[in-house]
Assembly symmetry: C2
Homo-oligomer: 377 residues x 2
């Protein structure tokens, strides 16, 4: 018996390889046309089979969001990584273990306090750890503002064998806009901010080999990255309804979907009930604040074709409620019990994280492979 | 070196055993005082070490939300289970495999269509599978309304060797209220609804051994369950901020928390940044629609004591942003880099699901055990 979308257990995470490959090619071409290195963020997939298709070379460069990701990808031979979340001293032994194994893992920080802790650790261990200073280009999270005098103080606090190698920023605020013009402002702000910070450090005599920017929306909008050495982006590998809402992909580009089975109906309400609840879709409702709220997801047939005006209007832990947006009642006969559907998610990162593996399909219902994901920290 | 909350890797899921034990005892006493059997829902923990403390006997009874749960708990010897999500025909082979191994796994359904599919399967396999009809007592999800004529049609469509053994309802609508009076209405509605459905079936000549109700809020509110045989509830084992908002527990009863580490600050904004983002807390923002929005969670010191007016006001994948509700700026000196904090979650079920294990503590910082969780379907 062929293993296909009609007979595997549900809910199950489906990955359309053709769409993924196109998304990967698009970002690779974009980085090439901008003349910068692509350092893909591997946090979205947490899967070597996906990651290796994104990487420029098998050794990297790559970005990770957890030390678990760094450790897993290092096992597959990835050497050049940035752990792009501010470091805490308790995490340094795991960083050091990787560095001692020959992994070129770089860390980031944004304070004199953290710089001193890293310096102390490196001196105690007689170990060089490479550091980037995190810059805040849009006020959405961590980092020092590009014009902060504190940048130089942090650089000074980083003493050998700790070594400053660059600056990094992430225009996370780009997730909040949805026009090309607004994205251009974010993209330019990201580039200008990181270049000002880099200039400040170089003027003070520091050598920087890495000037790193990136978010999927700004990466796909960038027109000129003069002064920047590399581009980071993650969710582009699968895309999702949220990125479609931002305007940097089409709904037809989304490579990830949740395969579900119809388990019942509420006739009077016109609902179809499936086994795809929020445990399988995640609780992410990122599109709720966009122009078009996509509920817990849009509904496709088993082949991945969008169906009319259906959406997942509600979800419990293991139940998804599908209804029609225009208020019409869905005819239960069109969606018999046992029928298979595919749901496009709000956000690929949290939806993916709910699943042990990806079932890979390629222009047919047949499952050509099952790629394992890891999770945890 | 003692393994404790100051030196394990973060983010990490912490389980306060003393609080969990008190929550378990409270629900057990409640069921006993109502004169009904407690059939705990094991979907919250997905962990045998937790589940075995909730069960009346090592064989059950228990409720599960996935066949994976049924299979995992069956390996530990649990026999009497209800899979409380409407069945689809593709799932019957896994049900049958358990039944053939001697597991008394019951399924639920709410349509003639599903009843026929189950009957056909049981006849083809010459296998008895026990079935409960799902009743909808409050319009929130699945099930037939208590007075629906369709209930008898479903019972008729269940032919031997499929066997009707009972009725089941879940007052999920109780999650939307927050006063004792409103909870009492939900609790009585749940009981009255299921009793009307049971009477209808018994009047038609069907024998029912199970009349099952339950949700954590109604279970803790019930005053009289005459006519009901058993009570189901799940999240009570840990409780969470959402249940505190409903009013059925105190914040101090919450047994589950996320241990995080301070990784930075935004001085001008008065933010503390931690490594506990939405990947570790989940995207659940259930309290957003309650009287008190608790953000992504409330902040405790490492000992579990609530801190002033702090909350997790924002979260990215691996970043948590802690701020003060009253607008004051948090002094970074009070929360140095490397400091450990504990976050009380909105909803124990999705937060738990992000983690491979529970680190168990008991009135100290020392970790007395690590209990594995399973995930997937």
């Amino acid at each position: 018996m062929t293993v296909d979308l009609l007979n595997i257990d549900t809910p199950a995470l489906i990955l359309d390889e053709t769409k993924m490959d196109a998304n990967i090619a698009r970002m690779r071409d974009k980085a090439r046309s901008l003349g910068v290195t692509l350092r893909p963020h591997l946090k979205t997939s947490k899967c070597w089979e996906v990651a290796k298709r994104q990487l420029w070379t098998p050794q990297g460069p790559a970005t990770v969001s957890t030390l678990k990701e760094a450790e897993e990808f290092a096992l597959h031979g990835v050497k050049d990584m940035i752990y792009a979340v501010g470091i805490a001293p308790q995490k340094l032994p795991r960083v050091a273990a990787l560095v001692r194994r020959g992994v070129d893992l770089k860390i980031i920080l944004d304070s004199v306090e953290a710089a001193r802790l890293v310096t102390q650790y490196c001196q105690k261990e007689s170990l060089e750890i490479k550091v980037l200073i995190e810059i805040d280009c849009d006020g959405h999270r961590s980092g020092l503002t590009p014009d902060s005098a504190e940048i130089i103080n942090v650089a000074r606090a980083l003493e050998a064998p700790a070594r400053l190698v660059g600056v990094l920023t992430h225009a996370g605020g780009s997730y909040d806009v949805d026009t090309h013009e607004a994205l251009l402002v974010r993209s330019r702000g990201e580039r200008d901010g990181i270049c000002r910070a880099a200039k400040k450090l170089r003027d003070a005599g520091y050598e920087l080999s890495i000037v790193s920017v990136g978010s999927t929306p700004t990466a796909l909008t960038d027109e000129d990255l003069t002064g920047v050495t590399e581009l980071r982006a993650g969710v582009y590998v699968f895309f999702d309804l949220f990125q479609a809402g931002v305007g940097v992909c089409q709904i037809s580009d989304i490579a990830l979907s949740l395969l579900v089975t119809v388990i019942g109906h509420q006739m009077e309400k016109g609902w179809v009930i499936t086994d795809g609840g929020w445990m399988a879709l995640s609780r992410d409702r990122g599109t709720a604040n966009q122009k078009i709220d996509q509920g817990y997801g849009l509904v496709c047939d088993v082949h991945g074709h969008l169906i009319d005006d259906l959406w997942v209007s509600g979800a419990n832990q293991e139940h998804g409620i599908i209804s029609a947006r225009n208020g019409r009642k869905i005819n239960p006969k069109d969606f018999p019990i046992g029928m298979r559907l595919r749901i496009l998610p709000n956000h690929a990162c949290p939806t993916g994280a709910q699943h042990p593996c990806y079932y890979v399909v390629n222009n047919s219902l047949e499952i050509k492979d099952c790629w394992k994901r890891f999770y945890g920290w």
